[in-house]
């Protein structure tokens, strides 16, 4: 199975929301990482056929433009904020989704039961949609996307609003699907990506600037991540100048994790990078990139 995006462009007035995207995605979990406004949602909507734009999208031999019915039967989509009829119960909503996906009644019933059990929503089946918490709504959103056992699963910010337990359930579910579907999920919660993504696409200003697996991506920031503990006053001065990933106050001192091309302080220790560091490296301008000379 392969999802191919060729020369995808989307312009709003004179500004590119998505620019020259050429990607081929195979079975597995692909994470789309980027800041707000980087074009993640626009790209996902284009893959789903919701937004018009330039370029070609194919799933195996199925063309999105010319065979949308066929394409949509392989597609599961969970929008960032999905709409629902508030007076429907969870059961009614899922049944409705099965109907509009043209799934047979017998199949729908079995599939709903299985997914509801997997995502621990059995006791909420008769609750009105409008009474569900944010986390529960997300779970219902994930279920509706999985109803037709999609080969392409597009999840826009699926873990936003989930508590840690719900996130673990979600990760396990995605991991179980990764061998049978092409899963593209967008997030800026980097810890989700570290655990489940096979490869990561980094988007900035509409373009995919990097596409590789976790270990390869981290090589970019290898030798650029430092940890340092300084007295509070001196620490605050450093924080104003450098890209600080994490900081922690300890009595009279501050412990910091800094991303910098050069050693930020004589006492700084080089450490192994993680995705947070990479994210900050690409998405935050360094306030003042002068080297600390002691």
């Amino acid at each position: 199975m392969e999802l191919v995006l060729e020369n995808i462009n989307k312009k709003y007035n004179d500004c590119y929301a998505v620019k020259n995207v050429n990607v081929s995605l195979k079975t597995g979990v692909h994470a789309l990482l980027g800041a707000n406004g980087s074009g993640k949602t626009t790209l996902m909507k284009m893959i789903c056929g919701i937004l018009k734009g330039e370029g070609e999208v194919h799933f195996d031999d199925i063309d999105l433009k010319n065979e949308y019915d066929n394409y949509a039967s392989h597609l599961g989509y969970m929008p960032q904020h999905f709409g629902y009829y508030p007076h429907y119960t969870v059961k009614e909503f899922l049944e409705y989704m099965c109907i509009i996906k043209n799934l047979s009644p017998q199949y729908s019933q079995k599939r709903i039961e299985t997914l509801v059990k997997q995502l621990n929503l059995e006791d909420k089946m008769n609750t009105k949609m409008k009474k569900l918490s944010g986390g529960m709504l997300k779970r219902v959103g994930i279920i509706q996307a999985l109803l037709n056992e999609p080969d392409i699963l597009i999840l826009d910010e699926p873990t936003a609003g989930l508590d840690p337990k719900e996130r673990i359930i979600f990760r396990n579910l995605i991991a179980s699907l990764s061998s049978t579907a092409i899963i593209l999920l967008s997030t800026h919660i980097v810890s989700d990506i570290e655990t489940i993504a096979d490869d990561i696409l980094i988007m900035k200003e509409g373009e995919i600037i990097m596409h590789d697996n976790y270990d390869e991506l981290l090589k970019v920031v290898e030798g650029k991540v430092w940890e340092l503990e300084l007295p509070t006053q001196e620490g605050l001065a450093i924080m104003a100048q450098k890209r600080v990933v994490k900081s922690h106050n300890r009595h009279q001192s501050i412990h910091m994790r800094i991303v910098s091309d050069q050693k930020p302080h004589i006492l700084a220790q080089l450490v192994n990078p993680d995705l947070d560091d990479l994210y900050l490296y690409y998405f935050e301008e360094e306030p003042n990139d002068e080297t600390f000379d002691h």
Binding site: G49, E54, K65, Y68, S73, P79, H81, Y84, I100, N102
Partner: protein, 229 residues
Amino acid sequence: MVNIDLKALDETKKACHQELHLIQEKYNARYSQLIWRYMVKEYCKLFIFAFMSFGAVLIMSIMFQQMTFVCIPLYFVIFGLLALLENMKDDLYHTKELMVTSYMNEGRSFLYRTIVIIVFQMIMIGMTFLVLPLNSKEFIYLLLLTVFPLFIAEMIALSCIQLIRNLGGIAVIYMVVYGIVIVCIHYFHLEVIISMKECLWVVGGSFILYIVSMILLYKQRKESTVLWN
């Protein structure tokens, strides 16, 4: 001589049958089944409401005969408004993204909703004229006050949905068009000057116009879902 592995061929055949069986189990094979399930899910409450209020309107019309030409048109005005609301549900509840990416898509959902509503409206209109004791003049007058403006107003309002995605705006357009048609009927005394045959032609013509415009709108919506550029 080509050496065909018959065992492999048989296994392929079995695998194909198995796949076909899985697909048949997974999807609705008949459109009628899909439309029926969709209709029940979407319109069950609307139909119950329509039947109950229809009963109340009929009782009022029979008890107070002078109210007939107010109650019945008012019933169809409200019914038409609810039908418009049903057609705008996806915009109202932001369910469009889910609808577009499903088999039903924007085009089919519009078509099925329109078919269901028009069939139901025809049933209700038929029942009205069957149940109420009307002479031919009253029949023409009621037909001109209900069916004719209903089709015209709904047709124009539904055509405007693509441009004005606001329920209030669409409701105003619907009411204004309905009102204009009623005023015109009274201004030109159509109920007096046209015969039964002419009246049926007018109503039939407006119905055909409604159907044609709905088919065009369906095609437009379906294409807007499928085509990219």
